[in-house]
C-alpha cells in the first residue's frame, strides 16, 4: 500500500517546531543581539571557533539548522494555502517549501559536517 507522505511531513514540522521553540530564542538573542550589540561580554573569537569545531557542537548545529527549516516549510506552505488561497498551486508551493528545506539541509550538512 502506498504510504501517504503527509504524516512524515507533519512529524518533521513537529520536531522542527520543538527544536525551534527550545533553542532558537536564546540563539538569536545571543548571536543576533546581545553579543554584536555588546550587552554581554562576548566570547573570544578563538574560543567560539574551537567550540563550534567540536564534533558534538557540529552535530547540534546541523540539527538546529535542518529540522527548523522543515518546520518553516510545512507551516509556510499552509500559510500560503490559507492566507493567499493559492492551494491550486500546491505542486509549486510544495516544491519551493520542501525543496528549500532540503537544500538548506544540504547546505547545513556541508557547513557543519563536511567542511573544515
Amino acid at each position: 500500500m502506498k504510504r501517504p507522505i503527509e504524516p512524515l511531513l507533519w512529524g518533521l514540522f513537529s520536531a522542527g517546531g520543538v527544536v525551534a521553540a527550545l533553542l532558537m530564542p536564546v540563539h538569536l538573542f545571543l548571536f543576533g543581539l546581545a553579543i554584536p550589540l555588546g550587552w554581554l561580554e562576548p566570547p573570544s573569537f578563538e574560543g567560539l571557533q574551537s567550540l563550534a569545531a567540536h564534533p558534538l557542537a557540529r552535530l547540534y548545529l546541523f540539527v538546529l539548522c535542518s529540522l527548523p527549516l522543515f518546520h518553516w516549510a510545512h507551516r509556510f506552505r499552509f500559510t500560503l494555502y490559507d492566507g493567499l488561497q493559492i492551494k491550486h498551486l500546491n505542486e509549486v508551493i510544495s516544491a519551493v517549501c520542501y525543496g528549500g528545506a532540503i537544500l538548506g539541509t544540504f547546505v547545513a550538512g556541508y557547513v557543519f559536517l563536511v567542511s573544515r
Binding site: S14, G16, G17, V18, A20, A21, L22, L23, M24, P25, V26, H27, L28, F29, L30, F31, G32, L33, I35, P36, L37, L40, E41, P43, S44, F45, E46, G47, L48, Q49, S50, L51, A52, L61, L64, C65, P68, L69, H71, W72, R75, F76, F78, T79, G83, L84, Q85, G104, V107, A108, V111, F112, S115, R116
Partner: protein, 140 residues
C-alpha cells in the same frame, strides 16, 4: 447553478460565499493565529543567520568581525529584534498547545495539562541557560 433558472423543484439555488482573502482580519483569534504562523519566517531567518555566522567563524577573525559589524547596523538589529519577538511568540504558543497533542498517563493517572506546560517551560529555560553558559564561556 444557472442564474437564469432560479431553482428547480427539488434543488433550490443555494447561496455560497467564498471566504474573503482577509478572513483573518475579522477576528482577533484569527489574527493571532496568522501571526503565529508567520513566526515560521523568523525561524527560517534564524537558520540563515546561524549558517552565515558559522561560515564567518570558519573563514577567520576578519570576516567574523565584519559580520558582527553588519549585525550592528540599525536595520539588521531591528530585524533581529522583531524576529526574536516572533520566536518568543512561537515558543510560548508551542509549549501551551503541546499537551493538546499528547495525553500522558502514568499508571492510571492522567498528567494534568498545566504540569506538562510547566515542564515544557522548564525545559526551555534549562536549554537556554545551557546554551548561554556554553557560548558565553567559550575561550575564557
Amino acid at each position: 447553478m444557472n442564474a437564469s433558472k432560479p431553482f428547480t423543484e427539488f434543488h433550490p439555488r443555494w447561496f455560497r460565499q467564498r471566504p474573503s482573502t482577509y478572513w483573518w482580519l475579522w477576528k482577533w483569534a484569527y489574527l493571532r493565529f496568522v501571526l503565529r504562523e508567520l513566526s515560521s519566517l523568523a525561524v527560517a531567518w534564524c537558520v540563515v543567520l546561524t549558517l552565515l555566522q558559522a561560515r564567518a567563524l570558519a573563514a577567520g577573525a576578519a570576516p567574523y568581525a565584519d559580520l558582527q559589524d553588519w549585525l550592528r547596523t540599525p536595520w539588521v538589529a531591528l530585524l533581529n529584534a522583531v524576529c526574536l519577538s516572533f520566536l518568543m511568540f512561537h515558543s510560548i504558543t508551542w509549549f501551551q498547545l503541546a499537551p493538546r497533542a499528547m495525553v500522558v498517563r502514568l499508571g492510571g493517572w492522567r498528567v494534568p495539562d498545566a504540569l506538562i506546560i510547566a515542564g515544557n517551560f522548564a525545559a526551555w529555560f534549562a536549554a537556554s541557560a545551557a546554551v548561554a553558559w556554553l557560548a558565553l564561556g567559550a575561550g575564557r
